[in-house]
Symmetry: C2
Subunit: 374 residues, 2 copies
């Protein structure tokens, strides 16, 4: 990216509140440099002129790019090889109430060694309430470390609670984790996560659609959530109260046609109410990382069934089971007595008795049978 | 029921291991008295003769009926008004591996004031592992008491753990509860539930397909489970390990076309693994009694949505929210500053500011606005 192109993108990133399809349309028609110039001169057409009116005379682009450079970051746009074009498809399918935000980002401010297209190729979003419980944090950490073990990147929002637990566990397992912020990449939010976000930027990726200095605001969290959902193959809500932003991220995932998963929890926990509502509405239940991998992984990458304890009795026929059940632990029963107890004809009990004896499950002495464990 | 008819049914109940469609067919063709006579004489046709061979000479019917009378019980068959004929439909739909047991019962031994048809009209099965946790027992009790408050009977198997918690809570709430046993009604099982089963028999109903004195056996638990599922409009698995009989009851419910529900629990709890497997396989998640009532209740009896906390900000338009978010708590911003912060044209912020002020959410002084909570 040459300097003038970077300056143009930086200007375009700040001059409107993203996402702004009208401006994106102009850029795709005339290019970033020309679009920036037209907006600046108030010659960008009535719609864009109006949208950009309040900010068009602000030009902090040089300062913005200096901050970006100081942080070791980069600007990403659809012109970059690293731009995950496929991740940003599907916005056409979202419900009406989300339509105004349902557009791909135009510019992403990024810091970190991970390449965005590689991340988006194989990532899961782990999201949830800031008011998490120890249970939820454990579940988030367990899933995150299981995912990175299977080379799945963990995308989240950098918030307290579930987000933080997921990022931390991914870092601890030396995996890739991505925090998508609702403010500028130079505005660590929450402030208590300054060190965590710095570590994510060192080892993974910190992303924002907003230029440096932008404060997080309510609507920006919701707009940000669409990027969390879009960058992941599936979104997992780990814990969520009755009213949690995580439900919004889940709605984006659903709108984008990506699987929505939820982790169950105690019905007595307010922090799991939102997960149970999602499950009731059709979200997929996940309890282990490999169940999540099923949804984000390559085709055929299926979770193994839960290990089930087995018993030698599993292999018995129904008749053998009835005969087995009719035998005492002590003493012993004759074949006729076994027939009565099992309700089977006497001639039908001798075969099963012999089989059971062969398998070491029953023993006989003097024409009487009993269980071998007796 | 006259004495000879009762004697015949009691004989038929013991002479084969239920369910026995061949014998049931004979009974429906020639009546109980004649069928009993033919079986006794070995003239019941080759198939029934063979099945009944081991037990046909045993006649403890008079003693059986005396036990029943002493316990204050009654024999129930399809000839009784109380027989819940509709509950025993749907056996044709079960998978092959369950086919041999997929038949309505012929005789039920019953003790208790509740009428079986009334119970079956509006009942839920609450089942689960004997190795329950305090959480599972709480959930079972909570559901049971919520169900009986809504006049739904609680059907279970009388076992330790989840079954016992469900029965006890239903009794404590003065509701109707039904225990279906895998042995004779005079064989309290488990022995530690002798007093509980007596209380169920006093206030609800204790049922068994097996004649007095029959010991519970492994295959009888599985056969019994089909009755638990059949007598309930829906089956709820409250807690179940990876290998629990509750999954068998759930399979019966599914085979009979009744809803299967499961209560979620911590992913860290072995006692919830079976529930999560069921949920993964399509069982419906339930967390509160009124969600269960939806499945067993009359049409239109829907659970209310989980109460969601609300905020005055919920009602704002997107533009109003953006303006609100752009206002400081202290100090104050001019309309132009609000326009820049929100990214909205200056002329579009005055209307929202006025609306927000009318709603008491913002205050203005000397041409500057701030949040009213500041």
């Amino acid at each position: 990216m040459t300097d003038d192109v970077a300056l143009a993108w930086a200007y375009l990133s700040r001059v409107v509140e993203p996402p702004c399809p009208a401006l994106a349309g102009l850029v795709s028609r005339v290019g970033a440099v020309e679009a920036a110039e037209r907006v600046r001169r108030g010659e960008a057409g009535e719609q864009v002129n109006s949208i950009a009116e309040a900010r068009r005379e602000i030009d902090s682009t040089a300062a913005d790019l200096e901050i970006l450079q100081r942080l070791g970051g980069r600007l990403l746009t659809a012109d970059d090889d690293e731009w995950p074009l496929l991740a940003f498809t599907g916005f056409g399918g979202v419900p009406d109430r989300m339509r105004s935000q349902a557009h791909a980002p135009m510019v992403l401010w990024a810091i970190g060694p991970a390449l965005l297209d590689e991340v988006a190729y194989r990532a899961a979003a782990l999201v949830g309430t800031r008011a998490s419980t120890a249970y939820g944090e454990f579940a988030a950490a367990d899933l995150a470390s299981g995912l990175v073990e299977r080379e799945v990147a963990v995308v989240s929002g950098g918030a307290y609670g579930i987000d933080g637990a997921a990022h931390r566990a991914a870092l601890a397992a030396e995996g890739t984790t991505v925090a998508v912020l609702a403010g500028g990449i130079d505005v660590p939010y929450p402030a208590g996560h300054t060190a965590l976000l710095r570590r994510i930027a060192e080892h993974g990726l910190v992303l924002s659609e907003y230029p440096p200095g932008t404060r997080p605001a309510r609507h920006r969290f919701l707009t940000r959530n669409r990027l969390v959902a879009a960058l992941a193959g599936a979104t997992v809500v780990v814990e969520a109260g009755a009213r949690s932003g995580a439900a919004n991220t889940a709605a984006w995932a659903r709108g984008l046609g990506r699987p929505v998963c939820a982790v169950p929890g105690p019905v007595t926990s307010a922090a799991s109410v939102g997960c149970h509502v999602l499950l009731r509405e059709g979200a997929r239940i996940v309890t282990r990382a490999d169940e999540v991998v099923e949804y984000v992984g390559r085709i055929g990458e299926l979770a193994l069934d839960e290990q089930r304890p087995t018993s030698p009795l599993d292999e018995l026929s129904d008749t053998e089971k009835r005969v087995y059940d009719a035998l005492p632990r002590r003493g012993g029963r004759t074949a006729d007595e076994v027939a009565v107890a099992s309700g089977l004809p006497a001639r039908q009990v001798l075969g099963p008795l012999a089989n059971l004896e062969l398998q070491g499950l029953v023993v006989s002495r003097d024409g009487r049978w009993k269980l071998s464990c007796g």
